[in-house]
Symmetry: C2
Subunit: 428 residues, 2 copies
């Protein structure tokens, strides 16, 4: 179906442009300074965890089941912290290490372990001529940056409504032993917000990789980040692996960065017993002993999976209006124009937007001129290269509702302006 | 000069052995369980920092000069935390990154950066046939473990009263481009407790390495850990480098692990502007955003260099009696026997002990049998290989004074027993 602009006569198009440029001048005059770029919780959200800071003081018992939180040791993390992490992921605490505040840092270190030492006795990736990672795209730029840093070839994989294109994943993983991993955000994917279907998770668990050191990097960043009581349900990948009779196939990561405080949460990793033994040996040299006073505060504050879910409902109350505003504004502004599509996630931190082919860079650049920072166009693709230049990641969590409202008005205007100008230049 | 046991007749030696074995039986009967193994602060020491836990609660302003402590961002660490770290090390805050709680983890990551990506545009170490590190020995086992993990050849360097044997260091560094680094604990060295002389620091600053990517790993772990008002003075290596007209030569590390809480302190690194730019680029991928609520607590508690020194005096009050007990017990028990020597540090966490050649493994094994854990013999040398098998690291900080007293009695007994048995078997 042609877009509204494609259907216009030249005169109509000129009139539309003139009207939009009038609005553009008005926006420019406002000198806005708004940020819709990164998936940061708002102050309203971080304030929800302030009571945690009252739970540890000089009178607190700083032990956890006899383990000291205030001294060296306990390399796997405090027992109760491991239990909490295991509950969040639905896995055995024996296979969990809680360490540091950043799950991305854990992912990095796991990649480095494979790159420098190899997985399960296989050749370290740094000694191989070529190593490839599959990157469902649009995806998370910071994932892609890790593998790119180590010279690993990032290969985009089509992202669908139910997860990555598994025909493609299965075919590539089974046929190419230089493919060593795949980046996944299986629930409320960054940025599309979709959750992998049971079918997709089962197909992941049943992969037959050509490379024995192939691993799925399962970044369950939004495991508990539902916007509604009825959130998406993600099949437990370790259950699916057991069902499939598989073994060492997945590293799963998560953190409380967007549950309590970004950068001051607790991060954790789980995998098969053999893979965890290998990581523990690496961590014994590189991490030695995790920050545990913060872990203690977390377990006293969140307590257990129920505590986490109760707390996340408060986050949802803050976030729901923002996400709903995005849907309403985009629908009102662009819904009938036939120039754009966007996702409508039930959780997570992003909305994925696709404009006309060849528009994303122009839209983001125009937004910057108009005073609104967006995630860089292309960032959601390996090497920043969105082949159709359509995708923009909208991060509605950090601005206030008023700021978000203003930013979305500018966004709708920018999308229209770019679409009209593109249509106009295609006719000249 | 012959030892007391060497001077004895066979009959005297048998009598001495019999008496010692009588004591041994008595110790065995006690079923002791004491630990003199690792450099952990005692609870008396960690309790000194409990007031820090009262400084952050739900009413605290969680910003630092406008930077949020409770959200993502601020990759170099909070401004006031960087200033505090810079004061501790006597360097420019602009060249400091405060990140995580473990300086050992920072050292690991700096080695990994060199190993995987290379320093200053040079070939990554993982692509070279051989990479070597100099390891002043006895030294710190966890340092040696990092380079060993990455297949780097650890070369022991003689440790003297004023630092490493600089003739050897200069000769090797200038002549062998495969030597890429040296591990140093320049103040209250682990385990000898000596502080590098001004002359040694100046010679370090004047090194002319054959390898452009040679770096000194300057682990200033005990920068502020004096036992007495008049502590050892370490020349500032960056001042010496400036004086020598050198440039990118040193990574310096430290943390508050043994100032506030081990594993929950703040760790930092400093280097030349060019080296820091390279590390920041690495950290932007791997660390992204440091834990900053803990940084905020630290700067509110310690405030500045004066605050740190005042706090460290309290630690010294706890530690001094322990270190003095070690000296007294060793002197009383072994002082006149001619079988052992030991260091007498004015700070830090260790006393380095040398028994008769070929005795250390036997002493540590006997101690374990008698219920006292020591750092493994050989641990202070690369690959656990103390060529003369003499060195034992005594860590007097963690046990209570009573426990330490008991452990030292056992130690003196074990040293004598091993020495007598060695002398006896040499005669048979």
């Amino acid at each position: 179906m042609p877009s509204i602009y494609e259907s216009m006569s030249n005169a109509e198009l000129e009139a539309a442009l003139k009207q939009l440029e009038q609005q553009e001048s008005e926006v420019r005059a406002k000198g806005l300074k708004l940020d819709m770029a990164r998936g940061k919780p708002s102050k309203q959200q971080t304030d929800l965890s302030l009571p945690m800071l009252d739970l540890i003081d000089s009178t607190t018992d700083l032990t956890d089941e006899g383990m000291p939180a205030d001294n060296y040791g306990v390399p796997n993390g405090l027992p109760s912290a491991r239990r909490l992490a295991a509950q969040i992921l639905g896995v055995d605490p024996a296979n969990v290490v809680v360490s540091g505040s950043s799950s991305l840092n854990l992912m990095h270190d796991v990649v480095v372990n494979a790159y420098t030492k190899g997985i399960g006795g296989n050749v370290p990736w740094c000694k191989l001529d070529e190593v490839k990672f599959l990157c469902p795209s649009p995806g998370y730029d910071r994932h892609f940056a890790i593998t790119e840093r180590y010279g690993i070839t990032n290969i985009p994989i089509q992202m669908r409504d139910d997860g990555p294109n598994m025909d493609e994943v299965e075919r590539l993983v089974a046929s190419d032993a230089s493919i060593k991993g795949i980046w996944c955000v299986p629930k409320y994917a960054n940025p599309t917000g979709i959750t992998y279907s049971d079918e997709v998770v089962k197909r992941f668990a049943s992969l037959k990789p050509a490379a024995p050191d192939f691993r799925i990097f399962w970044d369950n960043a939004y495991a508990v980040h539902d916007l509604y009581d009825q959130g998406d349900e993600l099949l437990n990948i370790f259950d699916a692996i057991k069902e499939a009779g598989a073994c060492d196939l997945v590293y799963e990561f998560a953190s409380t960065a967007k549950v309590t405080f970004p950068s001051s949460g607790m991060a954790f990793v789980t995998a098969s017993p053999a893979d965890m033994a290998e990581l523990r040996a690496a961590f014994a040299i590189e991490r030695v002993s995790p920050e545990k006073i913060s872990q203690l505060a977390h377990v006293r504050f969140l307590k257990n999976a129920e505590g986490v879910h109760a707390h996340m409902k408060k986050h949802a109350e803050v976030l729901r209006p923002r996400f709903e505003l995005v849907q309403r504004k985009l629908q009102e502004g662009l819904g009938d124009l036939g120039i754009a599509t966007w996702t409508n996630p039930k959780g997570g931190y992003f909305v994925s937007f696709d404009g006309p082919q060849g528009s994303a860079k122009a839209i983001v650049a125009l937004m910057a001129e108009l005073g609104v920072t967006l995630t860089g166009a292309g960032a959601t693709w390996p090497y920043g290269n969105d082949p159709r230049d359509t995708n923009i990641r909208i991060a509605p969590t950090f601005p206030s509702l008023d700021e978000l409202d203003a930013a979305l008005d500018v966004f709708v205007l920018a999308v229209k302006l770019v679409a009209v100008r593109m249509e106009r230049s295609s006719r000249s």
